[in-house]
């Protein structure tokens, strides 16, 4: 099967599915955290779709760039572009909803959890992913997913943000330089 043969789900539809599953979790003392960069795009869309629930429970949000916590730093170094993590609320005793675009090995989630704990001790962390592509290497899995699919190791599934802010999924051939954890 070549890359062009795979039918990819519609990211905008998955986003609606995610929003519906997330709604009951939006209680007071909950906070949303998007992982750069796809997770942040997703969170920004969810903030709009779920605006009423978020406002009525005064839910805060922040972003994480996990570059400083990745386990492949010694091999790959720092990317030239990294953005400051911004957690403008007290993590202590919060129920954190951690948002990522594609869940693969679980290593990004591990890095994100390590970073979150450096801000404080959350009451709980719930992992949300638009797509669970299979292939996890750690005992970590998303609790809320838009869809599951099985992809091979050389297939690199990425969330892409269009100029108008809408999201779509794209398959790109894995190159030697592509990092995906």
């Amino acid at each position: 099967m070549t890359i062009s043969d795979i039918k990819l789900p519609n990211a905008e539809q998955l986003l609606i599915t995610l929003a519906q599953q997330l709604r009951p979790l939006l209680q007071p003392n909950t906070a949303l955290v998007g992982i750069q960069s796809g997770g942040v795009w997703l969170m920004q869309r969810l903030l709009v779709i779920l605006a009423n629930d978020i406002a009525s429970n005064s839910i805060e949000h922040g972003t994480l760039d996990v570059s400083f916590y990745r386990d492949d730093y010694a091999k790959r170094g720092l990317k030239s572009e990294n953005r400051p993590s911004q957690i403008p609320f007290d993590v202590e005793k919060k129920h954190i909803i951690l948002i990522d675009d594609v869940f693969y090995t679980g290593r990004t989630t591990r890095a994100a959890m390590n970073e979150l704990f450096d801000y404080g001790r959350p009451a709980s962390i719930t992992l949300v992913a638009l797509v669970n592509r299979g292939g996890r290497e750690l005992p970590i899995a998303p609790q809320i997913v838009g869809t599951d699919m099985q992809l091979k190791a050389d297939q690199n599934l990425q969330l892409v943000q269009q100029a108008d802010g809408t999201l779509s999924l794209e398959l790109q051939p894995t190159t030697a330089n592509t990092t995906h954890v």
């Binding site: 790959r76 720092l78 030239s80 572009e81 993590s85 450096d118």
Partner: protein, 327 residues
């Protein structure tokens, strides 16, 4: 191109001087430092990047601020840090620099932060060490002090984000100042359109205008309409020679007072690399005034040094680790 600071892929391998570094690398350091600023504001002020690495601060010349900020920076990256005040150690018993370095390599040091009164000392060590070891110049003679130059432009960028629209004046003892040289290279590489130096003729190197700066001897003319005022430290020992009449005389002509600062733009900021000689190159009311960003410089210095060490230490795919320790 044979630039000892870069590896074959153009990545930073040692930080020895700003001169010779492309804009791309300077921006990478400054942008990464931006991410480290936030780390200091968290519950846990550490990231695990240099966990298990050993950083050796080799200070052959006295320094408190630079050594302390390098030490804090390395510790916030989770490295183990050893600070050697070499004046008081084996050097005074006659050991050569390279013997000191080799001994520390035998103890599995991963990075050297070097300050020395001789220009070229860090470069000399960088040429000697095996591939997997990195060297950061923390000031060598009159030559270079790259992390100071970087933290100065980082501070400027924080307060005046559009570097392409700035007029910057560097004032004081440019002749003996490695800080001035690093600042000038950093500012011009990053596209600051007008860099001025203001100093008496005796404290300017010959042909300084070849570095791309405008030379002023009259402080009032030089300060007119500048956005950034960068003061340099006047080293007391220079007073004894024939270069300057007296500290009082110098303050009268080249000391920064509020009256002179008022000639710059109303929102101009004042920088000083420290340690300050209050009443010699800068008046206390200016140093403590609301245009002064001297203490933010110190805070940002930690983030910039963290960025430098983090960029140096990561990603070594092209160098096989020659574990052969030369002792």
């Amino acid at each position: 191109m044979n630039n000892p600071q870069l590896d074959i892929d153009g990545n930073l391998r040692h930080l020895l001087s700003i001169e010779g570094l492309p804009k791309r690398i300077l921006n990478q350091i400054l942008d990464t430092a931006e991410s480290f600023v936030g780390v200091a504001e968290r519950e846990v002020k550490k990231v695990p990047l240099l966990r298990g690495k050993t950083v050796c601060n080799l200070f052959f010349e006295n320094s408190t601020r630079t050594r302390t900020t390098f030490e804090i920076a390395a510790k916030r990256l989770s490295a183990d840090v050893i600070s050697l005040n070499v004046n008081t150690s084996s050097q005074s018993k006659g050991e050569t620099i390279l013997d000191t370095v080799d001994n520390l390599i035998a103890m599995h040091a991963d990075m050297f932060v070097v300050r020395h009164s001789q220009s070229g000392a860090a470069h000399f060590i960088a040429k000697h060490v095996p591939d997997h070891i990195h060297v950061v110049n923390a000031g060598d003679g009159r030559h270079s002090h790259p992390t100071q130059g970087l933290l100065d432009v980082f501070t400027i960028r924080k307060f005046k984000p559009d570097l392409h629209n700035l007029r910057v004046a560097i004032i004081g003892d440019v002749l003996h100042s490695r800080v001035a040289r690093s600042e000038i290279h950093a500012l011009t590489t990053l596209g600051v359109p007008e860099v001025r130096v203001i100093a008496p003729k005796t404290l300017l190197p010959a042909h300084v205008e070849k570095l791309g700066v405008h030379v002023f001897h009259d402080m009032k003319a030089g300060l007119k309409d500048v956005d950034v005022v960068m003061m340099l430290r006047l080293q007391n020992e220079r007073m004894n020679g024939a270069l300057l009449p007296s500290a009082q005389e110098y303050f009268k002509t080249y000391g920064l007072t509020q009256e002179k600062l008022d000639l710059a733009k109303p929102d101009a900021i004042v920088l000083h690399p420290g340690p300050m000689n209050r009443g010699v190159e800068i008046d206390s009311s200016v140093a403590d005034g609301n245009q002064s960003v001297i203490l933010p410089q110190v805070t940002y210095g930690i983030a910039v040094r963290m960025a430098v060490m983090a960029i140096l230490s990561g990603g070594q795919s092209h160098f096989c680790h020659s574990s052969g320790v030369q002792v």
